[in-house]
Symmetry: C3
Subunit: 287 residues, 3 copies
């Protein structure tokens, strides 16, 4: 272990082999840090957190109590993992909720992830993402810069959210969904009310930029919601919808790429970057 | 007083009884900190600022000069209170503007509040809120994650803004208003111009997700602006409007909850969470 | 040189005359800091970076490797300049890309600017701006709070972007363009696809609040896109467009200010704040 100046490292912390620790670092009681990890200047790791091997924790990141971070994680500068819930603000007691993040995470700088979240392997975020408490997020999920997941959400595997997406509480997003910038999934049918009707987005659906999905709506499998739509009705499987008010344009299978003239939807037959069928094609993989 | 390592605390600072101070904390001249406060690692409190009793100032918060923070405040990690105005950037002199925040504030992490703001009791923010200079904000106001109040605004009491709301300069928001995500109140009628025509939102109005209100428009009392509307005309009292271009749909009193069939507007007769008529009903309270 | 407590300053760093350095500051190998600069508490300046004379680097800013910052810069609290690209995250090697920012920059707090960017003189940002890698940005450009420039963009001189603007990869924004809050320039014609068709915005164009410009579209010179438009066709030179779906309303020269009755477009003949024709008028300046 190499340590910089002015560090405070609790005696009960278990620091692995070949770990490098910068200046002004605080590591509290019972923290575990895996082998070969790099902990940069000003990082704070609170009691009971566990960092897997080969981590890179950049300048000034705050890892609060009871965070379990898998191996080979990159945590960007000034991220906050295990952010306090309301119970801490009220009682100023210890952060009691556990935050679990799988292996191979890339969490870009200034992202805030609350306690009481469970997130799978190969998780990626842009900058300044906010993830409130009590969501379950699958594996290979990517969430773009400034996106805000409001908590109590179910997010599947291989879900891609671009920048500045707002996912209201109680949303359900199934596997292989794409959500583009400035999309909002809402949840209050008569705001302000006590009712929360989350949106459901089915597998392989695509929601393009600037769309608002109204409370309780379902966006069907393989469907495409065009930019700027106000989704005030359910979107049927395999359909294209656009506009404010929303109207159905037809079937996604009829959409052609304007340059090549080739069909491009359902996208799963035409696109494979980052997908489990990469290089083999969806049909072959799906057998 | 308990103090961590490597702190710099000015001799002229007045630290109350039973205050706990973390590591790497800087407290400058003439700072006052009330009894029982907790000041976490890396906090900077600049000259002349006053923190009420029972404060919790989380990791790395920056409280600039001349901030007056009421009692029992929670200031999240890396907030900046009393942020510099343009005069500081130009002159690099001291922050001279006073920032006043009432009692019982909950200011979540990474929020930036400029100098020259006056904010009432029971103020709450989400994360990464930005509040520019010279606004007057009433009591029991809540402003959601990523919202951006551009300055020179009048905001009443019991105003609720959800995440990612943008309030242009010179806006007037009266008491008991609700503004939902991705709403923008604009102010320049012929952009770019030197004219600033702020929006006025009257009491009990509700503006739903993704709405843009054009410069100088008034959103009437008890009215409801549906999601994604482009408000290019005044919204009359008690009316529902939707769409781009905007059209009036009728009276809010005719809106029924789809699940229960019951009327839900004006909301003040049907909803009381966080409101002064909580538990007694609006009509009884209003007598 | 005045230095606070607990600083680490590499011997090979070249610190100019009359430089003031706060507490807990780290200055790495071969850093150059110009005369009369002020480096506040907790700043980290990484190897090989050069800061021009008369800089003010506020609390906790991180200046990574190979940043060249011109003279008289203001860098707000907790900015990150020279942020890591994906190659660093993968290899955890040194940041190798150069970041060049001209003279007289004002970069407000918590802004993140990636490595491999070149930015001209008199650059200004609001708070929490994100600028991804490999863009070329001209002189006198201003980018508002929370805006997100996704990289690989060409941005001319005297471009003004207001708060919360999202500029997709491969966008081209020419000189003297105005973009207002919550505008998104997109780039993927059939999302998700491997095709990137950037938007082009011609000189003197104005794009008002809440507009989405679809992939590959051109917004013509002197044109005006009204608030909330979904730009799914090219916008012709000097035309006004509005709506979802977009429709052309006529010529910008016919727009009158509602208060004064005077024409206000093309704006370059009626507005000069911050422009090179300030005080002399566009026609005189253009000769």
């Amino acid at each position: 272990m190499i340590t910089g100046m002015n560090c405070m490292i609790a005696e009960s912390a278990k620091i692995g082999e070949n770990v490098s620790i910068g200046n002004h670092v605080c590591i509290q009681e019972d923290v575990v840090i895996g082998d070969n990890s790099i902990i940069c200047d000003g990082v704070i790791i609170c009691a009971g957190s566990e960092i897997g091997a080969d981590a890179y924790i950049d300048f000034g990141a705050i890892i609060r109590e009871n965070v379990k971070l898998g191996k080979h994680a990159f945590v960007g500068a000034r991220c906050i993992l295990g952010e306090y819930l309301m119970d801490f603000i009220e009682n100023r007691d210890t952060q009691k909720h556990e935050t679990v993040i799988g292996d191979e995470a890339i969490i870009r700088s200034e992202t805030i992830i609350y306690g009481a979240n469970t997130i799978g392997d190969y998780f990626q975020t842009g900058h300044r993402v906010t993830i409130r408490e009590k969501s379950r997020i699958g594996r290979n999920v990517r969430i773009g810069t400034l996106s805000d997941i409001q908590g109590d959400c179910e997010i599947g595997n291989y879900v891609n959210m671009h920048s500045n997406v707002h996912i209201g509480m109680k949303s359900t997003i199934k596997n292989y969904v794409w959500i583009f910038p400035y999309v909002v999934l809402t949840n209050d049918p008569n705001p302000p009310s006590e009712q929360l009707l989350g949106v459901t987005v089915e597998e392989y659906a695509v929601i393009a930029t600037g769309t608002v999905v109204l409370p309780g709506m379902t966006v069907g499998q393989d469907s495409l919601v065009g930019a700027g739509a106000i989704v005030n009705k359910n979107v049927n499987e395999g359909k294209v919808v656009v506009g404010n008010p929303m109207r159905e344009l037809g079937d996604v299978v009829n959409i052609k790429n304007k340059t090549t003239g080739e069909p491009c939807y359902p996208w799963r037959y035409h696109f494979d970057r980052g997908m489990p069928w990469k290089g083999i094609g969806f049909e072959e993989w799906n057998k």
